[in-house]
């Protein structure tokens, strides 16, 4: 059970994600965005940050990073692919998830704890949670407002009190198969009560359980 945690130039949550995965018993390894072979990894995480400076548009350059071909392969093979915050934006931009992330409704960056409700447990993020479970973890984004004109997104987590205008109050969105998930709030920031909440653990555990050795 070994996850690749992709580092683009400008990514900044990679160490936090590795900490959360390993603290809960998983194995994780940082992978530079120029890597072209992720064979041997059982899952992949695109962490938060500002890949390639978010220049042009969030995720617009990152989707062309060499590693993305392998991320697409893993998604097709049904392996767990998780994008957190900027990673969610990259997955939408590369077409692995439906919709797009635009500026927050109030045009301001939002960094605070938000409350979420689990509305679908059939995804690699929510598999260990219970339907209707409330989860309190931090949000940290400017472009966190998910729009999905096609309406094909499968919503896994909803905001209880929508902070950014997301369609359907979506905080996490999955593909139909449920193995590719983008989540805007940060589960890895919610693994320790000392920092305000341990609610993110059930999501990280869900991701870890979804990885089966290749």
């Amino acid at each position: 059970m070994r996850a690749a945690v992709v580092v683009f130039p400008g990514t900044n949550c990679e160490h936090d994600v590795v900490h959360a995965l390993t603290a809960l018993g998983g194995q994780a390894e940082l992978v530079w965005h120029r890597e072209t072979d992720l064979t041997g990894f059982d899952g992949v995480v695109l962490p938060g940050g500002f890949a390639h400076g978010d220049y042009l548009r969030t995720g617009a350059i990152a989707r062309f990073s060499p590693v993305m071909a392998e991320v697409e392969r893993m998604a097709e093979e049904g392996l767990p692919v998780l994008g957190i915050c900027n990673g969610f934006q990259i997955l939408c931009e590369s077409g692995l998830l439906p919709g797009a992330l635009i500026a927050n409704r109030d045009l301001a960056f939002i960094c605070r704890f938000v409350e979420l409700e689990v509305v679908d447990t059939g995804t690699i993020l929510t598999g260990a949670a219970e339907l209707g479970q409330r989860i309190r973890i931090p949000l940290n984004s400017y472009e966190g407002n998910w729009v999905d004109p096609g309406g094909s997104g499968r919503i896994a987590l909803r905001y209880v009190d929508d902070p950014n205008g997301s369609q359907g109050s979506a905080a996490a969105v999955a593909t139909a198969k449920g193995n590719v998930v983008g989540v805007m709030p940060h589960p890895e920031r919610g693994v320790d009560e000392l920092l305000g909440s341990g609610d993110g653990r059930v999501l990280i555990e869900g991701f870890l359980h979804s990885m089966v050795p290749a």
Binding site: P9, G10, N12, C13, H15, D16, H19, A20, W32, G49, F50, H52, G53, D54, Y55, A108, F109, I110, C111, R112, P138, N140, Y142, H186, E188, R189, V191, D192, L194, L195
Partner: protein, 721 residues
């Protein structure tokens, strides 16, 4: 004389006397590039020429000081091989001219000061001061600065975990934007700003050099403002946090692999500083080839290349056999790099451009021979008048006065600001923005690092010496209530025009006050910054020193005291000095009376030491500790109530005592009989409970109301209401 016909040295911000010094030093007419270098290096901003003589007053030594003032950042020993690097800086003038970029590049600069030392920057604190928000210009500046800090800090990936916000008419024409950074490193990763020995190669890393920020230090940061200041916009640098993020990671890899001898960041004075200072420190000379510098504009002249303050650049000093490895690291992180210099024996800094020698000066003279001024000072007559007019009492009923204070944007919730900052990255933020001190855990250890930054222009206007000392004591108490013991201070001294004797008096008094307080607590000043010329159209700001205090909690209390841990039935105790009802310099005086008069209560060193020690001990057993500062006991208790969602009753006391900001006091909230308080001054002042806050016999105020007013203090003003 019009600007165009002024001699070059004056256009560069140099006085005729300073020009004469250059002539004497070189024994010839300086070349244009040489004059450019001296003008920026001898500017007030870079050379501290008006303050240097007085800064020697600060106590700077302690067994745990690894690097004191004079390097890019101070470094202290946390034990077990861990070091902390800390530094504070101002970006006041650029932020007035162009608030977003001014604030953003302030963040970029302070980060470089810290990762230059080999440390990973782990947290930022911003101290920002503006004129009242009812003026649209001030709203524009405030919004621009906050979004600039957010835009840069969030993207570069360093959390902003606290700071300070103040509003006062004295900052309308001259906002203050200070920023502090803390970094952590292992002892073996410490790097200094040295050029090393002859043969060492200088490699310029990072962003290409352009014409931005030329003369920022000399023209913008070291002069006062007038109506023409907006024309100085081209002197403001433009930041690129993405380049900085890559630069941080590349530099940390260089340190980790031991590939550099020394490192110097390029901030104020750009290449002039990054070549002369490391060479001067190492006692060597250097040859620099400006044609090798990677540029993003064509046709730059030698003076422009030497003065440019283009951001996100570092100079690495590397042994010749490691140059290829360093260039490979730069390539991996996708940053540009160029070999631009070679360290030489001797002491001459030789700069070539287009095949010609454009500068040939003693390297150390740029830093060491800067002018040193002992400017005249004078006790201002007006301060005697202020002291002779004692502060008035409060005429409003306490409940009403409290609502006015909670609605003040400097006292109300800071959420509008700090929720725009990533304050949680790195998973270290145990206590974040909006409280007393911030508390960061150091993973893999039992250590906690606490930081508090404190400034108070009102107090320092009315008594700069007492004010300076009280800021140190307050910052110490703020870290103590998180369980930490104060360890080291950095200070940012924001003052008016030093050519006015009254301003120099304020400055000297403040330095004395800070020094006395640090000596009383036994802690060193490990770095600082001076920002003079904070005046617009002849009006000086209040003297506004900002103290940044680092404390170490070992072990860190788990959980630490939090305001939100207050619960029904707990008692509220006030511990420390018995307050007087003197309101001189208080928030109540500013908010309720709009005038500052009287003389603030003097600090008491013995009491200061006692409360700091007691608070640091109690933090391990008491659920709520909270410093009493702006707005006094009444506001301190209200903040506990708001955070915990429960009311309180304060026993009947004189209204002045409720809002007094007399020093050396904190509140402790705990279940009756659950805590053994140490011998010393302590008073039970009330109880937690209910859904109202009752101050003595005055009409209780609904908790919902105070919560809403406190939450809305900034948002309602920013909405233009």
């Amino acid at each position: 004389m019009t600007t165009a016909t002024q001699p070059l040295h004056r256009r560069l911000g140099m006085t005729d006397e300073e020009y004469q010094s250059v002539l004497g030093l070189l024994e010839r007419e300086p070349r244009p590039a040489e004059l450019a270098m001296y003008s920026v290096m001898w500017s007030e901003h870079c050379s501290y020429k008006s303050s240097r003589a007085h800064l020697r007053r600060f106590p700077t030594e302690a067994p745990w000081v690894v690097v004191g003032p004079g390097e890019n950042a101070g470094v202290v020993d946390l034990g077990d091989g861990w070091l902390a690097a800390l530094r504070i800086e101002s970006h006041n003038h650029p932020s007035f001219v162009e608030p977003y970029q001014g604030a953003a590049t302030g963040v970029g600069g302070i980060l470089r000061d810290v990762f230059t030392m080999g440390a990973r920057p782990v947290a930022l604190w911003d101290q920002i001061r503006f004129g009242p928000l009812d003026d649209p210009k001030n709203r524009y500046l405030f919004n621009g600065v906050v979004t600039g800090i957010a835009g840069y800090g969030n993207a570069v990936g360093v959390p902003t975990v606290g700071g300070e916000i103040e509003f006062d008419p004295c900052y309308s024409g001259n906002p203050l934007v200070n920023v502090m950074c803390l970094g952590i490193l292992r002892r073996e990763q410490l790097v200094l700003g040295t050029a090393g020995t002859p043969g060492t190669v200088a490699i310029l890393l990072g962003r290409a050099t352009g014409r931005d920020g030329i003369g920022g230090a000399s023209v913008l940061a070291s002069a006062s403002f007038d109506d023409e200041s907006q024309e100085k916009r081209p002197s403001v640098q433009v930041g690129d946090p993405f380049e900085e993020k890559k630069l941080i990671e590349a530099c940390l890899e260089l340190y980790h692999r031991g590939l550099v001898v020394g490192v110097q960041d390029l901030g104020a004075a750009g290449l002039s500083c990054a070549t002369s200072e490391p060479a001067g420190r190492a006692g060597v000379g250097m040859e620099v080839d400006l044609d090798a510098v990677h540029v993003r504009e064509s046709g730059m002249t030698a003076p422009e290349l030497l003065m440019s303050e283009s951001q996100e650049r570092m100079m690495a000093f590397v042994s010749p056999e490691l140059v290829d490895e360093v260039l490979a690291v730069a390539s991996k992180w996708e940053i540009e790099a160029a070999v631009v210099g070679l360290v030489q024996a001797g002491e001459t800094l030789t700069v070539r451009h287009r095949g010609e020698v454009v500068a040939e000066v003693p390297a150390a003279s740029l830093a060491d021979d800067a002018p040193l001024y002992r400017r005249p000072m004078r006790h201002p007559a007006w301060i005697d008048d202020l002291w002779a007019a004692p502060a008035e009492g409060i005429s409003e009923p306490p409940g009403e006065a409290l609502l006015f204070l909670l609605d003040d944007p400097a006292i109300g919730s800071t959420a509008w600001v700090h929720e725009q900052y990533d304050h949680m990255l790195f998973l270290n933020t145990v206590l974040g923005p909006g409280g007393d001190g911030s508390l960061l855990r150091v993973r893999g250890t039992e250590k906690g690092l606490a930081v508090s930054t404190d400034g108070n222009g009102r107090l320092c206007l009315l008594d700069p010496r007492a004010g300076g000392a009280r800021l140190v004591f307050e910052a110490a108490l703020n870290v103590a209530v998180t369980g930490a013991r104060p360890m080291a201070v950095v200070d940012n001294l924001n003052f008016g025009n030093p050519e006015k004797p009254e301003v120099m008096w304020q400055f000297l008094e403040t330095v004395e006050g800070i020094s006395e307080a640090c000596e009383a607590l036994g802690i060193p000043v490990v770095g600082g910054n001076v920002s003079f010329y904070n005046e617009t159209d002849g009006i000086d700001i209040h003297p506004t020193p900002v103290v940044g205090m680092l404390g170490l909690a070992e072990p860190m209390p788990v959980p630490p005291p939090r305001l939100s841990r207050a619960a029904e039935g707990m008692e509220i105790w006030e511990i420390g000095m018995s307050p007087t009802s003197n309101l001189a310099g208080s928030a109540a005086q500013r908010v309720l009376q709009g005038a500052l008069t009287g003389r603030p209560t003097q600090p008491d060193s013995e009491m200061a030491k006692w409360v700091v020690a007691v608070a640091a001990d109690l933090a391990h057993s008491v659920p709520v500790l909270h410093d009493i500062s702006d707005g006094g006991l009444a506001v301190a208790v209200a903040e506990v109530c708001i955070a915990a969602g429960v009311g309180a009753t304060i026993e009947d006391v004189d209204t002045g005592l409720l809002f007094s900001e007399d020093p050396h006091r904190f509140i402790a909230v705990f279940a009756p009989g659950s805590v053994d308080l140490p011998e010393g001054p302590a008073r039970r002042v009330g109880v937690i409970g209910g859904q109202t806050l009752a101050l003595g016999r005055s009409e209780p105020v609904a908790l919902d109301l105070i919560t809403e007013i406190h939450r809305n203090a900034i948002p309602r003003r920013m909405a233009g209401a």
